[in-house]
């Protein structure tokens, strides 16, 4: 190719050859890959016979990881575009509550309730983004305000309308609805029945479900997580728009000078983050059959932590959706794994703090390598 055509091209003697190790270091996913290997090694060694790697245990931490992944994808793209959204957790609670109010209290068909919630929540996301780009205020402050505003409404609305803070009965109203199973259903049930019959995965031995496999399908939550990860990764690395996301977060002014519509990119990313939060909320509401005013608490931080463990820079312009997904996987595996291993669950927070600090320090070091700063 082009490089080979000019063998005489002399290299600058002051630029040291970059070793393969350092080259691997500047991949944003590196931290996530190392962490994933470490975490799985640890639990395979210390919790192998605890049931964590049985089909049921596997599904247990997969679902928890998938939850983190869904919100991490949105938070990741937004962070690369140079902004934060601290209202993700409140948005989850708010979206769930709106679905319950629309479908249970107002009696709307569930599919209309779900769609109306998606429209409402992405519009709030767009409003968040619009305020950020118009005022030039840090998104940290703007979305912190929405953290309280949305949480306040999530507690206020059901109390005024239904005189309670948890609205149930969603499973009954979603019976026969065509859109509800897209979030609350399971796929590949037949495959798992076959796997159970073939003796590959364990089956219930007693009771009404005797003979059925303990895992009866893959929840749509996991399917959504995988779809969003693939979408986010392709969007970021393989499209024109992905280049704009990097540019908007790397240096908004330079991007504008080159004709990148920075404001549009940022607002769209706020909308995508809100969309991901709503997906999370709908799946949760369909699974639990109820919406609670306290749902989604602290999720915004968990999303940000997963993204940072996945190698994204807090300052924007650098990161990877695959890394964020691995960060979410580490998160889910450790949270559930500590439970399987019988470790006191409060230690999970200690672990979280330590791994977050480690990840940030590693990322700062990596950035120095990329930019050649000292």
């Amino acid at each position: 190719m082009a490089n080979a055509a000019q063998p005489t091209a002399k290299s600058d003697e002051r630029v040291k050859e970059i070793s393969a190790f350092r080259n691997a270091l500047i991949r944003p996913e590196l931290g996530g890959i190392v962490g994933t290997v470490a975490v799985f090694t640890f639990f395979l060694l210390f919790a192998f016979d605890s049931g964590m790697f049985s089909s049921q245990g596997f599904m247990n931490w997969s679902v928890v990881s998938a939850q983190f992944m869904i919100i991490a994808v949105g938070a990741c793209l937004l962070m690369i575009a140079g902004e934060f959204d601290l209202s993700v957790g409140s948005m989850i609670g708010f979206a769930g509550m709106m679905i319950a109010i629309f479908s249970v209290t107002y009696g709307w068909p569930v599919w209309i309730a779900i769609m109306a919630t998606f429209v409402l929540c992405t519009a709030i996301g767009a409003f968040n983004g619009w305020i950020v780009v118009r005022t030039g205020l840090p998104s940290f402050i703007v979305t912190l305000a929405f953290l309280f505003i949305l949480r306040g409404f999530t507690i206020f609305l059901p109390q005024v309308i239904e005189r309670k803070t948890i609205i149930g009965g969603i499973i009954d109203v979603s019976e026969g609805d065509w859109l509800a199973p897209v979030f609350g259903g399971k796929i590949l049930g037949g495959l798992f029945t076959w796997l159970g019959e073939a003796g590959i995965i364990s089956t219930f031995e007693r009771g009404t479900k005797a003979g059925q496999p303990v895992v009866d399908g893959i929840p749509m939550l996991i399917v959504w997580a995988i779809v969003l990860i693939i979408f986010g990764h392709v969007l970021l690395t393989k499209t024109k728009f992905g280049n704009w996301i990097f540019a908007a977060g790397g240096d908004a002014e330079a991007a504008r000078n080159s004709g990148v519509p920075v404001n549009r990119v940022k607002i769209l990313m706020f909308m995508f983050t809100a969309f991901c939060a709503t997906v999370f909320a709908v799946c949760q509401v369909m699974e639990f059959g109820s919406a609670g005013a306290d749902r989604g608490l602290l999720k915004e931080f968990e999303a940000i932590i997963a993204v940072v463990i996945g190698g994204a820079l807090l300052t924007g312009g650098y990161g990877s959706v695959l890394g964020a997904a691995l960060g979410a996987l580490i998160f889910g595996v450790v949270q559930q794994g500590l439970f399987f291993a019988g470790v006191e669950s409060s230690l999970f927070r200690v672990f979280l703090g330590v791994i977050l600090l480690g990840a940030v320090i590693l990322n700062t070091y990596i950035r120095r390598i990329i930019t050649g700063e000292r």
């Binding site: 082009a2 540019a247 240096d251 991007a255 000078n257 004709g259 990329i370």
Partner: protein
């Protein structure tokens, strides 16, 4: 005094039609008159230096040329036709590219991603438009080699390039995307000796392709090294345009400073300014 220059200079021909001609441009900001009648033109293949001390109106003037500001009065002719720029995009579309000293490149992004930022090549796969990374990488490597920069690879981050190399990437990018006029805003002011000479060599290379270069500087020696014509701004007015060979560095320096005091200072500084 021009004999020390290693660059090949074209003879600016008066009969060649200018790419852009700006006549009697005035720009007022409220009660402040930033530009009080500036005339300036750029011909294909020349490097026209715009000199002036801080506050002389250089920045306001090039912002008018690149569509950021609209002139209060005065006329702009682009390739002989009167033209009005509403915003910078109009100017970019017309072929006027501005390379800013700092705000051009994103250090964390690769050279190839920077090179095509805002103008990404795409190809369709199954009806969806994807980034054509292969093309972007090949073009980037090719253009960089033309400019004399050997990259390790198209994925090398811009942050690892030196200041002069970053300027060169920005210039190569503007040229690749069809700039007819290249405005370089103080491209050498933050650079070392060697990097400066690299950038000046790049300007020379670009000029030979028939692109008109506007080189803004307050360093007379850098301007004289590549400039074909020199226009000095002082307090919002043109103090005249001189052709290469008509003017000495001392005269240019005097014009920029407004003449008087520097002449006295010169004695004590021994011509080092």
């Amino acid at each position: 005094m021009t004999t020390d220059s290693k660059f090949h200079h074209v003879d600016p021909k008066a009969d060649v039609q200018p790419i852009i001609e700006m006549r009697n441009i005035e720009k007022h900001f409220g009660r402040v008159i930033a530009l009080a009648g500036v005339s300036f033109d750029v011909r294909p293949g020349e490097c026209h230096c715009l000199l002036g001390d801080n506050g002389a109106g250089k920045s306001t003037f090039i912002k008018t040329m690149s569509g950021v500001h609209q002139p209060t009065s005065g006329e702009i002719f682009f390739e002989g036709k009167p033209l009005h720029f509403d915003d910078p995009r109009d100017a970019i579309t017309a072929g006027i590219a501005t390379v800013h000293q700092h705000l051009a490149m994103i250090p964390l992004m690769s050279v190839s991603r920077n090179f095509f930022m805002g103008n990404e090549p795409t190809h369709k796969v199954a009806g969806i438009s994807f980034l054509d990374k292969k093309k972007a990488d090949e073009v980037t490597m090719e253009e960089m080699r033309k400019m004399g920069i050997n990259l390790r690879g198209p994925d090398q981050a811009v942050g690892t390039l030196s200041g002069g190399e970053r300027q060169t990437v920005a210039i190569a990018r503007a040229v690749y995307f069809g700039a007819k006029i290249l405005i370089l805003d103080e491209p050498t002011s933050a650079l070392g000796v060697r990097q400066t000479s690299n950038v000046l060599a790049t300007i020379d290379r670009v000029r030979k392709q028939g692109i008109g270069v506007v080189f803004i500087s307050h360093n007379v020696r850098h301007a004289l090294a590549v400039g074909d014509r020199f226009t000095v701004l002082n307090r919002g007015k043109t103090l005249g345009t001189a052709t290469r060979g008509e003017i000495t560095p001392e005269e240019l320096q005097d014009l920029m400073a407004g003449g008087q005091e520097l002449a006295q200072l010169e004695g004590s500084l021994g011509g080092t300014v």
